[in-house]
């Protein structure tokens, strides 16, 4: 039996298979090196990086909910400079594309960040997070208004020649309108979805569980919403999509591919099983072998409706 062709290309980034790790759920890659082969997956996406180090929110920052979890990390990160000096050297030793997830507190910061990584050979591409729901400044606005999103994307497009992926928020009435605006402004691929805004309450203390009050819902609970959005957007835009949301298994990942995603990102699953991304990639390949599918590309958007 010849092996199926699992390789995909997203915005010019060549990947050995469609399984990437989602921003904020895989640290800076190194944390998982003891549990899986970092060269078994398609790409690594870093924790969201900002121009300056960010402290993030107070604790509690996470809480489990039915079939999912809420997080309000508040984008704690070392900042782009420390990333380059302390985290990137390790990633350089791993033969897997590294995509940097960027988050700006303002329009200008997005531009500066994009320029900052433009000449880093080790960075294969940029994923722009316009959808983080936790930080009051910026996040929610850029991610839910097509014109504001287009502004950010346009500026990033001007500031770097790296492959440009934009990550969409699900907290919108019309995700297709957001997708179109980003593509028109220069996005070469779209990632969807980021977390749904949610909340948890402790009835005994009569307080929100999270210090930040609200947080982002991720995990299996959101998979149906994510699948629906990928399917909707895939019928409206031509750029490749990266499906994200509650992917725990090869089956879940294949559902996103059929819905129209060229690749997928594994997020919360990394916490439950630090080898999840590798196992999902392997499981997808086995399924293709079993079904006699010669290349993963045949399945992209192959849903029969």
């Amino acid at each position: 039996m010849t092996k199926p062709n699992m390789s995909v290309e997203i915005a010019g980034i060549k990947m050995r298979n469609p399984v990437m790790t989602a921003s904020g759920t895989f640290g800076y890659g190194r944390e998982f090196a003891d549990y899986m082969d970092l060269e078994s997956i398609g790409a690594i996406i870093t924790k969201g990086l900002s121009l300056r180090p960010k402290a993030g929110n107070n604790t509690p920052r996470i809480v489990e909910t039915p079939g999912g979890m809420l997080n309000a990390i508040g984008l704690q990160n070392v900042g782009i400079d420390a990333f380059i000096t302390t985290k990137l050297p390790f990633l350089r030793t791993v033969d897997t594309p590294v995509i940097v997830n960027l988050y700006g507190n303002s329009l200008e910061e997005y531009g500066e960040l994009a320029a900052r990584i433009d000449d880093l050979a080790e960075v294969s591409g940029v994923e722009v997070n316009i959808s983080c729901p936790n930080v009051k400044q910026g996040g929610i606005v850029f991610g839910t208004d097509p014109a504001a999103a287009a502004q950010v994307v346009g500026l990033v497009r001007k500031s770097t020649s790296k492959p440009l992926i934009v990550k969409l928020s699900p907290n919108v009435t019309d995700v297709v309108a957001m997708a179109r605006a980003c593509v028109d402004a220069g996005a070469e691929a779209l990632s969807l979805i980021n977390t749904l805004t949610g909340m948890a309450i402790d009835i005994n203390s009569r307080r929100p569980v999270l210090a930040n009050i609200t947080g982002g819902l991720s995990g299996p609970a959101i998979k149906p919403v994510a699948l629906r959005m990928v399917w909707q957007v895939s019928r409206a835009v031509k750029v490749p999509l990266i499906g994200i949301g509650g992917i725990m298994s090869a089956t879940d990942a294949l559902e996103f591919i059929l819905a129209g995603a060229t690749a997928v990102q594994v997020g919360t699953a990394n916490f439950l099983n630090p080898a999840a991304a590798e196992e999902i990639a392997a499981g997808m390949e086995s399924w293709l072998v079993e079904k006699g599918v010669k290349e993963i590309g045949e399945l992209v958007g192959a849903l029969k409706c």
Binding site: E31, Y35, R61, I62, G67, Q76, P220, F271, L272
Partner: protein, 271 residues
């Protein structure tokens, strides 16, 4: 290390407290006291996240009915507080669990010539038992154990069997002195002059009190913290605590899972 484990036994040692012994690969024996395990309670998505527990004990036993087989085991001591621990309590011998262990930074035994003082509150005694087991080989060890009531003071006999001298205090006086265990400890520290080192695990207010006493008495002190965790390996940044240099402008967050759970008390901000 991630591995599939079988439950060997799961015994209620006090109302609402269980001790679970499970199989583990031999390499687990390299774990240090204070390190912890992350347990996936069910293969189903509920509960979703792994649950963290300190290593209470570990070792090797000879498997019965076979000539030379030995089996490495891990033990945890846990309190039923919610959904995940409730399901854990329902488990039987032979049930399987998915475990990641050992995780985090354990206790540093400290200098040779110190007396070792352990302070534990409730289920905070769990990681101290393994520590005591190691320390008694070379040191004099004293344990100050506290709890709300006598049911919450666990496994004292096990500590005594190691040769640890134990002092007990409960909030309601149903076992040992009535009052805070930290007060009992303070009295002992004030009366003794030998060099000492403190190792504490328990609820945050207790740890803060211990850290305060340590500072006052100029004794080195390590504390083992708890935090709500998603990953246990430094990836999610959910479990952070404030380091001593923390301020809004110069954030100094430490991951309980990776930088801890054991910290030098002077490395943390106790506000």
């Amino acid at each position: 290390m991630q591995f599939q484990s079988q439950v060997l036994s799961n015994i209620e040692v006090s109302p609402g407290y269980y001790r679970m012994r499970m199989t583990a690969p031999p390499a687990v024996l390299e774990a240090a006291a204070g390190q912890f395990v992350m347990v996936k309670v069910s293969r189903a998505i509920d509960p979703l996240l792994r649950r963290p527990f300190g290593i209470y004990d570990m070792g090797v036993f000879v498997t019965p009915y076979t000539d030379s087989g030995t089996q490495t085991f891990l033990e945890i001591l846990y309190k039923v507080v919610g959904h995940g621990t409730g399901m854990l309590a329902d488990m039987h011998q032979g049930d399987s669990l998915d475990i990641i262990a050992p995780l985090g930074k354990g206790f540093d035994h400290g200098a040779e010539d110190e007396e070792k003082i352990l302070v534990g509150g409730g289920v905070g005694l769990a990681p101290l038992y393994l520590l005591a087991k190691e320390l008694v080989k070379t040191h004099r060890v004293r344990l100050f154990a506290g709890g709300r009531s006598k049911e919450d003071v666990l496994c004292i006999t096990e500590f005594e069997r190691l040769g640890v001298e134990t002092y007990v205090a409960t909030d309601d006086g149903t076992l040992g002195d009535r009052g805070l265990v930290t007060q009992v400890m303070l009295k002992y520290l004030a009366a003794s002059r030998t060099p000492k080192r403190l190792f504490a695990c328990g609820p945050f207010p207790m740890l803060r009190a211990v850290a305060g006493i340590a500072e006052e008495m100029q004794v080195e002190c390590q504390v083992s913290l708890e935090a709500y965790m998603a990953c246990g390996m430094g990836a999610c940044l959910g479990c952070v605590v404030k380091g001593v240099n923390h301020s809004a402008e110069t954030p100094d967050y430490r991951c309980v899972c990776k930088d801890g759970p054991v910290f030098e008390s002077t490395d943390l901000s106790w506000e």
